[in-house]
């Protein structure tokens, strides 16, 4: 079982390296994960995407794909890749404290 020290606590991670328990998540933890992913600062636009992901997950039990983010979050694909380089859906899910999206099978 992997762990990481985030927000001053030792937190358990799943096999993909995402938080194992989403109750461990808070905004400070999000900022620290983002920094580890090479995103020094979470802007309001980042938060818009993260909050959208969390609300979809709450309703449906899975995080949205990039295509759905583009369609429904109000942020276009190009901007998504600028905000969350190298795989916005995967990266934003990790920062939002959610498991890796199941859709990429």
């Amino acid at each position: 079982m992997q762990t990481a020290i985030l927000g001053g606590k030792t937190l358990t991670l799943d096999a993909d390296g995402n938080l194992a328990d989403r109750n461990d998540w808070n905004e400070e933890v999000a900022r620290e994960i983002a920094a580890l992913e090479g995103i020094p600062e979470l802007t309001p636009q980042h938060w818009a995407v993260l909050n959208f992901m969390r609300s979809v997950f709450d309703k449906e039990g899975d995080s949205p794909s990039i295509r759905r983010l583009t369609k429904e979050s109000g942020v276009d694909t190009k901007t998504l890749y600028q905000l969350f380089p190298k795989g916005p859906a995967k990266k934003a899910a990790r920062i939002a404290g959610l498991p890796k999206p199941k859709g990429c099978i």
Binding site: T77, L80, K86, G87
Partner: protein, 410 residues
């Protein structure tokens, strides 16, 4: 008289039609299958066509031939499903009321979803192998190709048969080696995934295979557009990969009728209960095969395993009882690895593909997540199994639920 309506006469629809034709009393139920195409293709065979191993004409049969006599087959595409009125309107104008509906409309490639992919040289220096025409055109092209950089590009996940791109690369390596021109061909995979495959252990093992065969990989590549003038793929973050020959796996989407009916997700796949296979929030409608949004592979083996579950649940449903059988996401895929060898992977929602022996623990004869000649013969033999057993709904000697016995946890 009640009406069982099956939309789609592919692998999933045909298996369900056969199972239900045997089980439902002819005095109580009529069964209809609707499909827009007369021909039933053995899709796993498409992969072999560009390399002259199979000919397309050997992979096609008339759809009706695999449907029992009592079934009405309607040749038409679908205009719209209306779950409120429990009816389906066909493109030919006919309206069909149903008591129970099975959506088995599959998935298709949509190259038009990627900017520049279909412009200019589509079918000239850019090909697909997921359609009969694409696979045949690519085969003709390869016969006279002098070499250069072959790029296989996956536009977006999920795709039908997620191992097919890797098989294509392995077969290409063998094809050019056997023609004495491997040195003139640079083989390269460009994928939106973080590695060769979706799950960690198999991604590592398959990644090592690619490396050993001299096939390079660009991962985490979100394809934004194809620049036809400079023959290059451009990602959303503006990184680029150039090509001489592009073999594309375009975006896969569900049937346009799903979008017109307003019952699909952003890729026209139908939100489906991952255990019962009932359409989420829609009464008397079930979904099977590539048409679902399930986090399982889009593959014939999955449709087959689902069919056992769905059959039980439909029999419960029409008797007014809640569904009981639960699908576990089981998939079982042969991976052709070139030079007369193959691999096999067996996995489900929870358990990733692992090494081991299949179906008899410790014995095999098939080797899981490892290469062997018998795996290759298993793959070739499967075409016979498909037409003669699988489509007819005959039980195969493979457990429906994925089993841990015989797998090595790594």
């Amino acid at each position: 008289m009640r009406h069982m309506l099956i939309l789609g006469g592919g692998t999933a629809g045909t298996i369900m039609a056969n199972k239900l034709a045997n089980a439902l009393d002819e005095r109580d139920w009529r069964i209809t299958v609707v499909d827009g195409k007369e021909e039933h293709y053995y899709q796993p065979g498409f992969l072999f066509v560009p390399f002259d191993i199979y000919r397309m004409r050997d992979l096609v049969r008339p759809r009706r031939q695999y449907l029992p006599g009592r079934i009405r087959f309607i040749l038409s595409s679908i205009d719209q499903i209306d779950p409120e009125k429990k009816k389906v309107v066909l493109a030919n104008g006919e309206a069909l009321r149903y008591d129970c509906l099975i959506v088995a409309t599959g998935a298709d490639i949509h190259p038009e979803q990627t900017e520049g992919l279909m412009d200019d040289e589509w079918g000239v220096s850019k090909f697909d192998f997921y359609t009969p025409r694409g696979a045949e055109r690519l085969g003709r092209f390869l016969k006279t190709w002098q070499g250069g950089k072959l790029v296989l590009s996956i536009a977006e996940m999920p795709i039908k048969c997620p191992v097919a791109p890797l098989e294509f690369l392995f077969l290409a390596d063998a094809y050019f080696t056997e023609r004495g021109m491997r040195g003139k061909v640079d083989i390269h995979l460009v994928t939106p995934l973080s590695g060769a495959f979706t799950k960690p252990t198999s991604s590592r093992v398959l990644g090592e295979f690619l490396e050993r065969k001299g096939i390079s990989v660009t991962s985490d590549f979100g394809l934004a557009r194809v620049d036809n003038e400079q023959k290059k793929l451009v990602a959303w973050d503006e990184t680029e990969v150039n090509y001489d020959l592009l073999v594309s796996i375009p975006t896969n989407m569900g049937d346009p009728a799903i979008a017109r009916s307003g019952i699909g997700n952003e890729l026209n796949f139908v939100p489906t209960n991952r255990k019962t296979l009932a359409a989420e929030g829609i009464e008397d409608v079930f979904v099977i095969g590539d048409a679902t949004n399930l986090p399982a592979s889009k593959a014939g083996s999955v449709a087959h395993f689902e069919s056992e579950i769905l059959f039980e649940n439909i029999m419960e449903h029409i008797e007014g009882r809640p569904p009981r059988a639960e699908f576990d996401g089981h998939a079982n895929c042969f991976i052709e690895s070139g030079f007369g060898k193959g691999m096999l992977i067996d996995f489900n929602y929870e358990t990733e593909p692992l090494p081991g022996a299949f179906p008899l623990p410790g014995v095999g004869p098939f080797k899981l997540l490892g290469e062997s000649a018998i795996n290759h013969y298993g793959k070739l033999m499967f075409r016979w199994v498909y037409w003669n057993l699988l489509l007819r709904g005959v039980e195969l000697p493979i457990a429906n639920e994925m089993l841990m016995a015989g797998k090595q946890v790594v």
